[in-house]
């Protein structure tokens, strides 16, 4: 991930002075990653949309506190993660989203254009399994795994976003992956 691009810096400055249109442009730059991050953290697309919106609103409210010494996305994603975690906490009583055949998943692939219906079905099943395995991870592990293996952040960036030590990132990532490996064994294609 690069630092904050120049264009975004300008949008940030304009947003700080109350330019909502500039902020909306900023939202468009980051919405894809913010939304996907939220999706993977909460495992539910409508909650994820709420969280993404809330996170952007909170970011706007807090723009005055963003001093630009860290990359904007680090700051923004920290808000997203916090929102997602507190959101989950508030909803802890609710059953997790789980994809099943009778219950069309909001995670049904958007770009599934395979001709082979069997392969498509398999792929769908695999995706649901991966999502379920991620959802089943303990929160702290999930955040690290999602940031690394889905969003592609470096260890140091993750440490920054989550405000945890580098060593903690390493151990959580490794632990999380080990748990995922257990859960996803049938899909790994590693022959004994």
């Amino acid at each position: 991930m690069p630092g904050t691009p120049l264009e975004d810096m300008e949008l940030l400055a304009r947003s700080k002075s109350g330019d909502v249109a500039a902020f909306a442009a900023l939202v468009r730059h980051y919405e894809e990653r913010v939304y996907n991050l939220a999706c993977r953290l909460v495992g539910n697309s409508s909650d994820a949309a709420d969280i993404a919106q809330d996170a952007f609103l909170a970011a706007y409210e807090g723009l005055g506190r963003f001093r630009g010494d860290a990359a904007f996305y680090t700051w923004l994603y920290r808000i997203v993660v916090n929102k997602a975690l507190t959101y989950r906490k508030a909803r802890a009583a609710r059953p997790e989203f789980a994809a099943s055949a009778g219950n069309p998943s909001p995670f049904d692939s958007v770009g599934d254009e395979t001709d082979d219906p069997l392969a498509a079905a398999e792929r769908k099943e695999e995706q649901a399994a991966v999502q379920a395995a991620i959802a089943a991870l303990p929160q702290d592990f999930r955040a690290v795994v999602v940031l690394k293996d889905i969003e592609g952040f470096e260890y140091e960036e993750i440490a920054d976003i989550l405000s945890i030590a580098l060593g903690t990132v390493k151990s959580r990532l490794h632990r999380g992956r080990l748990l995922l490996r257990e859960a996803l064994k049938p899909y790994l294609g590693v022959t004994p």
């Binding site: 902020f23 405000s163 060593g167 490794h174 992956r177 790994l188 590693v190």
Partner: protein
Amino acid sequence: MKCQQCADLLSEYIDGRLADAESLQVTEHLRSCSACRRLEKELRATVALVGSLDRQAVPVDMAETVAARLERRMLLAEPQPPKRRLIMAPWRLAGVGAAVAAVLLVALYVWGPRVSTVPRTAARPTTGDEGALGAAQIQKNGEAAVDRNGAWQAAPAQPSMKPETREEQAVAKALDGQPPQASVSKPAAAPIPVGTAGGDGKGTGGEDVERKETAQEGPTSAYGMALNRAREIASTPPAGTVEEPRSSTGEEGVGRTSARAFKDGDVNAQATVPAETLAVPGRIGKRTAGGKLEAAEETVTAEVPADARAFAHKVTEAEKAAPAAEAAFNFDGKIADAADEFLKLVPVAVQGGLSRDLGVDASKPASSGAGLLMDTAKPGRVPLEAVKSGASEAAAAAGPLEAIKSAADAHKVSVVELGADKAVFEYAAERAEIVRIVAQLRKVGSLTFISDAGKWPMAEDLGEKQHMLAYQQQDKLSAESARSETRIARGVDRSPAPVTVRFVFTRRPAPAEGQPPAQTR
């Protein structure tokens, strides 16, 4: 290299994060060990599989919705250019955060369910005092007020905009000329007439607090969560009107205590604000290690009636006079007395016992492990001196767990709250101390964790933490991360204020006959 060492390093190996020498060792080992090779393959496959998840398409109108909500908020909120947002200096926010919380709690308690998080300019009843305040603000902000007034007229012209939150809905209703749901028992909503009521331009003492409050939706911090919790508690009917104790599942140990007290008809209990709502450490108002935690300056707007504002002023003054007070504050129903109480009853530093026993660097700020003892079943806190003697002797003798238990016994309190900063906690966790303490405390009561980052450690992860601990001990963390953990534990890497983790321990009452023992998590 042994298998376990190798297995530990595999994630970093896969990610190319190992130093050359170490990486080479792993490669060597993999060449000769089929089990580890298999694990490596599986991990690689796992990473690939997770990474292959399809990206989700963003709802098309995300940016528009955000912008619309922002605009709506701006119309509704007090005018607040960024530079004016912080009426109080950041360092003062620390203590003031607690004072504000206290004020809100008073307001929430007394005016309970009618309080919402909306900047209630529109819905505010025009009692004399309110009017004076409004006028004072308008005087200072003449132009902005007119703008705002214009906004009142403009807003209903956007009927298609769907209010997003209950607060926004309430405000939307107010805009449409209906009384907002949230204040059914109040006089009908009426916008503050521009230029009405002379006022002296100063308002009451609480103005400071009131003015710095801004609308903020959704808790992003323990502070926010505590406030939400406060709202929740405030909306719990007081003694006599409760049929059933509020069903509390999960980790709401404190809530359970209060609910029980309500049911038992303990009138005082309703005046005792449960620990977690008060346990807003002043430090929350500061920045955390990573930088600009948005929780830091989060403030909440509530309708603060005139006498509560006066009280807020008192508390602010008291807080000025006693900067050390980390705001443990007991509201016993008499607003006027509360400020004095506030000064008398301050949290006790269990830190003396806790962090010393855990072998943490004593040169850390004294507040790093502040805790307090309180009893949610009885009015009043245990005064500082009394608790100090009770706790620290025991602590010196037998360690933190005994300190907690004996202090609880000595003062017959049912709730013990401890705070320790994250560094202390992590360090302790490394040494299995906290895990042990937690396990033992959970035998006699329930334990809730609150961290001001709102994300660490999760109570439900504690089992996992222990798991991880065992894992780390067994497999030995890499030397580097062990070093970094230690550095953090010593506070070297955390130059700004540490993240505070608070524990709320609720002692389970002795089971009455025929009654199943209270549930533990």
